[in-house]
Symmetry: C2
Subunit: 355 residues, 2 copies
């Protein structure tokens, strides 16, 4: 089992170190190989996703990814900016299925912006298509406007697009996932305005015929953004495109109040996967030893379950994380009165202890 370890920027190296520590504490044999990515790779090799890093990622069964990005790279040309690494990995490895759970941990209900009764017990799974849509659609660029309100004016444009097989395969992923959970899928679209998402809706409806045991609901993206605030627990599995999924999964994770706890997985059709925390690189707190490593540790658990076929080890990690929370250990982002404030390394050590 080969794992590519890509720590990245900001707090990335610190939190990935703790996840690696936890993986090593399991009685399993892994080959772990580390490579630079993002801003760190730009500094080291002049490109956010160097050829050698991409080759390593392709050859691995799974990628443990920290985070990329820092304001200091804002002035670089777009192809050199840190986030191009993550877009490149998704594209080159065909990681089309992004799993973003939004779970509100019992002990952390108070950390949510939302009233406790709205989030206690929250457990939503957002499945975002990750290699299509307006993220990668061609053509895109700048030109002189051919028509519209200001013909002849300077214009920038992008192309939103989805093919039938792209929609069908992500819909299947969502229906399969729902079967193992609450048996309900909400497909989020904007069929009232966009051709792409009328087609999305049509194909989801057709694909649903193979999953009569799963309930299917359709919701416009603007309404979904509202319902997530109003009654998040009404959702089970949400499936949507790349752009809407970007927005809604971040909204949903913030609702839980503990984005520092939320893992994510991005899989291709060979079950190769990239595993990363839902939060970002947080350059403002990098190097201070205060970042929460739990989202990354839980991402490692997802990796064991989805890509490495080690569900028992995944269960062990998840149980250990619950245990340290029950012990009252908290990094600053989730700390509250009556609990014990710990740093990144202490938190990782506690998880290893609890395994």
């Amino acid at each position: 089992m080969k794992i590519a370890v890509l720590p990245g920027d900001g707090i990335g190296p610190e939190i990935v170190a703790e996840a690696v520590k936890v993986l090593k504490a399991l009685d399993l044999k892994f080959e772990l190989e580390t490579a630079p990515v993002g801003g760190a790779a730009y500094e080291a090799a002049g490109h956010p996703l160097p050829e050698s890093t991409l080759t390593l990622a392709k050859s691995a069964d799974a990628i443990l990814f920290g985070a990329v990005g820092d304001w200091k790279y804002d002035q670089l040309d777009r192809p050199l900016r840190p986030e191009q690494a993550i877009l490149g990995l998704r594209k080159h490895l065909g990681l089309f299925a992004n799993f973003r759970p939004a779970i509100c941990y019992e002990q952390l209900v108070g950390a949510s912006s939302l009233k406790p009764e709205l989030v206690a017990g929250l457990d939503i799974l957002i499945i975002r298509e990750l290699t299509g849509d307006i993220y990668f659609g061609q053509p895109r660029g700048r030109r002189s406007a051919a028509d519209g309100h200001f013909p002849g004016a300077e214009e920038a444009f992008d192309t939103m697009r989805y093919t039938r097989p792209e929609i069908e395969r992500i819909a299947r992923v969502a229906f399969e996932a729902a079967r193992k959970r609450g048996k309900k899928v909400t497909s989020v679209d904007k069929a009232n305005v966009l051709e792409t998402f009328q087609f999305w809706k049509d194909v989801v409806i057709e694909t649903h015929k193979d999953y009569p045991d799963v309930e299917l609901q359709h919701m416009y993206v603007d309404n979904a953004a509202m319902q997530l605030v109003k009654a998040p627990k009404a959702f089970d599995v949400i499936v949507t495109g790349n752009m809407f999924g970007d927005i809604l999964s971040d909204e949903a994770s913030m609702l839980t109040g503990s984005i520092g706890m939320l893992p994510s997985a991005s899989l291709n059709d060979k079950k190769q996967g990239l595993y990363e925390p839902s939060h970002g690189s947080a350059p403002d707190i990098a190097g201070q030893g205060v970042a929460n490593p739990l989202a990354t540790i839980l991402s490692a658990a997802m990796m064991l379950r989805f890509s490495l076929n080690q569900p028992a080890a995944a269960d062990r990690i998840e149980a250990a994380v619950k245990k340290v929370l029950a012990q009252g250990l908290r990094t600053p982002d989730i700390h509250s009165a009556g609990t014990t404030k710990v740093g990144t390394v202490q938190m990782g050590d506690a998880v290893v202890q609890a395994l």
Copy 2:
């Protein structure tokens, strides 16, 4: 002063009737002319935006709009569905500047999903570009994919686009609005992925040179969706494109807990405007006399201020609405223990009384 009154579907006729009642109670001379729109117009004339309704709208100084849409029209071909009326009005009248305040009324803080301390005193203004972006961009449709993951597969596509003058004029609207408020504009984009929104950001930065007294901040749309949940009061004016504005303005209005209170205005460069509540047609409660007319009444106030040059009358209406809230009157959507539950008509009567 000519006002086109377009009640529409669902609760539209009930709430518009109350706003008209309030307008008539002012000592001003209006010419009010009513026409069907949305599903009601489809039933009456076979089209959601009949030629006669569009002609009336164009000839008026302002449009008082209720709401459109009902599940019973879901099976119609897209060009005949109710929401095409609103898209058609925006396009044909060039209503490019959409103002969506998200205000949390002191007495209604408890109705929010968010903890009181996060929303008490909330007063954000979202300015959404309304006639460009992927809503109207050509080409769009279905075809066989020329490239991508599944070349040759059936594909649907849309075009996102913005020209320089479109971005510049909405940026100016935002900077001007911020000058009269908290002097801060957050421009929401996705410049890290989209050509359109890198251009958006560039043009906003250039336009900002004329408004050195206003602070300008840039935020990615996914982060904006999170920050609205985490710390909504950190925003003053948000400016963004049509698609992102659709999602974020609905999210923001739901945060207040009283979307039934929130008006909106959509203006063109001649200050002609369409005024409508931020909420929808709510067909589930139509005809029951329980809908909240206050968002529509407050939309009429915005109309007086922005299109009819009657700021004093607008102030009177807004003061009257505050008064009925202070009296404890509440429609069911905002009712809580200790307040008096009233219906649509009683609420309208109370506002007239309080004028």
